[in-house]
Amino acid sequence: MDLSHNILSILIWLPILGGLGVLAAGDDGSDTSARAGGMRMLALGVSVLTFVLSFFLYTNFDNTTAAMQFVERTAWIDAFNVEYFLGVDGISAPLILLTTFITPLVILAGWNSIKQRPAQYFAAFLILEGLMIAVFCALDAVLFYVMWEAMLVPMFLIIGIWGGERRVYATIKFFLYTFLGSVLMLVAFIYLYGKTGDFNFFSFMNVPLSITEQKYIFIAFLLAFAVKVPMWPVHTWLPDAHVEAPTGGSVILAAIMLKMGGYGFVRLSLPMLPDGSQYFSGLMITLSLIAVVYIGLVALMQKDMKKLIAYSSIAHMGFVTLGFFLLWDIGQGSGAGLGMTGGMVQMISHGLISGAMFLCVGVLYDRVHSREISDYGGVANTMPIFAAFFVLFAMANAGLPGTSGFVGEFMVIIASFKANFWYAFLAATTLILGAAYTLWMIKRVVYGEVANKQVAELTDLNGREFVVLGILAFFVLLVGLWPAPLVDMMTVTVDELIQHISQSKLAAL
């Protein structure tokens, strides 16, 4: 069967329709009834099927071309030349695979721990999955924006309904922050539409723009993407949202939603506004380095495990933005692609590691109902298998060679060396800081004497949790030891992208 002309639509709409099916299947308000069990199997089935279908994307992906693949294109709103225009290249394909891979794990992770209205919970995740995939393959600005905003709705409900004590505060902050960031992007899109007459990303890339226009549009895009990444100083929603979100929500937020910001920079800001990006590259590098160093220090001081991982996410995402904007400091040459590829590998790897870290905290939280580091100690004595996983992921988070965390960071650090010694010097502090905050947390939680009665009564991983963490551990090691398949997917697209960015748009004016 040849799916290549509708695989993207299937990946988008299968989970959304499946989510509606799950909602319709219902749960009779109880989490133990047979109906709820069937509903769960349906949710898992849909997400696994989506993952299996996304394999088609991987096996049929052509590494040798930078052109869009699996393109689908039909008119949507004629009055504005808006199209339903989908396609993937080496930048978006890995992120789509990450999305389809993480979602079944999240559904498994929430299997029994969601007691209240489980059908709505699973449905929200499935719908969210479809919307996120749509963001990664949309090539029309209106379609992109619709999916980008619609994505907030299920996440808003996930944090608000199944979150912790201060969930309402956290979720409203999350929604308004990201909404505020995005609306100016819409104005920028409509402005560009006024120039080109359609909302096609490729017309936006090719339309000549003056430097003033590029600066304003860059700022509008920056607000949207910087809030999502999040970059210092607009990161404050993230620790709140992460702490209050249920485990599954934190995983999706860290593993995929944050990547939207990075994706936005490579898909929109850089190719559409090459001169604006060059103008602001110094600012971007500064903000990224502040995120790496300052947020790293902030992470060191956290008492709450989820908050610590949230801050560590911000620091790691700093590497992504750093890698993307090193281009002009390195100049045309072999190193230019390294920073960008490094940033993208870092996105995938951070998706795996941060997801795994939040799942580990979720495992502890389900048993003890506390996220405070001080409530734990000596977990390794009662949960040896769990401890092994937790330590592995922590090492990956600290960037240990052999794990996926090492690959991206290393590439970005090498690229920054080519740009400027001091960039590299500051970026490399993460090797110390990252190790310090992660391993210090591990020391306090996992090792030492059994701290209290609750820890003494802990039971080790059950089969479901073992499978989830095991799969993640496998991929963390796989990407760390053999990153070639992932990097190969990106190389040609990145080279083409750099080619495009290095051509100033001002000449055509």
Partner: protein, 477 residues
Amino acid sequence: MRVTDFMPAAPEMVLLGLICVVLLVDLVVRDENRVVTFWLSIGSLVVTLITLLLTAPEARVITFDGSYVSDGLSQLLKLSAVGLVGVGFLYARDYLKQNDLLHGEYFLLGLFGLLGIMIMISANSLLTMYLGLETLSLSLYALVAFERNSATAAESAMKYFVLGAIASGALLYGISWVYGVTGTIQFDEIATALQTRPELNSLPLWFGLAFMIVGIAFKFGAVPFHMWLPDVYQGARSPVTLYIATAPKIAALALTLRILVDGLGDLHSVWQGMLMVTGVLSLVIGNVVAIAQSNIKRMLGYSAIAHVGFILLAIFTGSATGYGAAVFYTLTYAVMAAGAFGMVILLSRKGFEAEAISDFKGLNARSPWFALMMLFFMFGLAGVPPWVGFFAKLNVINAVLEAGFPGYAVLMVLASVVGAYYYLRVIWYMYFDKPTDRSVFQAGRDTRVVLSLNGLAVLALGIVPGWLLKLCLDVMS
């Protein structure tokens, strides 16, 4: 005059005839059979709708010595108005019955109001416009007061009447100046007069224009003539509020487009500034004050003011795209507002008006389906995609940018972010809080079905907005 000259006004005549029939039948119907009036009213609406479709003009037709017009715009607006009034009636029946208010008056006044709306939509002269406006306004004043024993209803009706009369006076005064300067009351002749004698475009005409804008702003409920709106929304019974919040907005849009675009289009540079001030103020004040409300009808009232700001700023651009955007915005807003007030009606029951926003607490636990519908309405009004409110805003922002006002576009989106907060609060109460009230809804099946369709329409129009968008742009180009 030939018979065919009456054709453009056939729907109004049919409606008037049917109103007389309903009026007579209502006299002989006893209170326990009052539902007959309801079904007759629905029947009248259906017949009017069919007449509208049958008499659809192929091109712009002007009749009655130039005082009446039938064109694409009138067709679109009338169809929507009839539909919205019908939806309002369907929501109202069970509510009125539970509260012992199922009298003929509600439906009859509603139909008379609709007649006024349809006359306004088709008006081609200032006097026809004024006639339609008064037919509508008098019906509305009476509708607000129709619960005789309620002090709040009487108070808000009085307030509405006094302020409304002043506004009508201002409009009439403006009309007299325009007539005095141009020597005609017909919109197309006014436009011709302004083109052939540009010297008319001077202070006396602007003076008259300013008074007409006061009348328009009052009928729309735009700042600074918005004071009546929250009080009336709150004081009136929910079905009446629903009525005021939907179809008369379409009438106000027709009032604005006919007078400012058809008649005084050449004065664009003059009225542009006036609309800008009222539009921006409405946008900001409506959104900010809505945050402080704890009564949902009042909150939706202030939100209506904010939405009017969008509509006025769309007309402010003075371009065909802007007018089309205003039409699209008004129609979709009316659909969403009808749903939101429909939810208030659904949650109310005998002796209990679900007026406080906190009455929505825990709705997801009581009825996940209707909580979802309310979520559709709220996100739709907030302008979050994929609901249709987003495309309405996109359209207006596009028109404003096209006209070269990026500053206003930025202001609009920032105001929407402020606005999102109070819509989110309703969703927060519905989904994140526990219910305080576990009673079962008393509304009948028809109300539930129509409300569900209304909610799904808000989503469906957002997924396939193209056809309506094209229709709205076509009728204005």
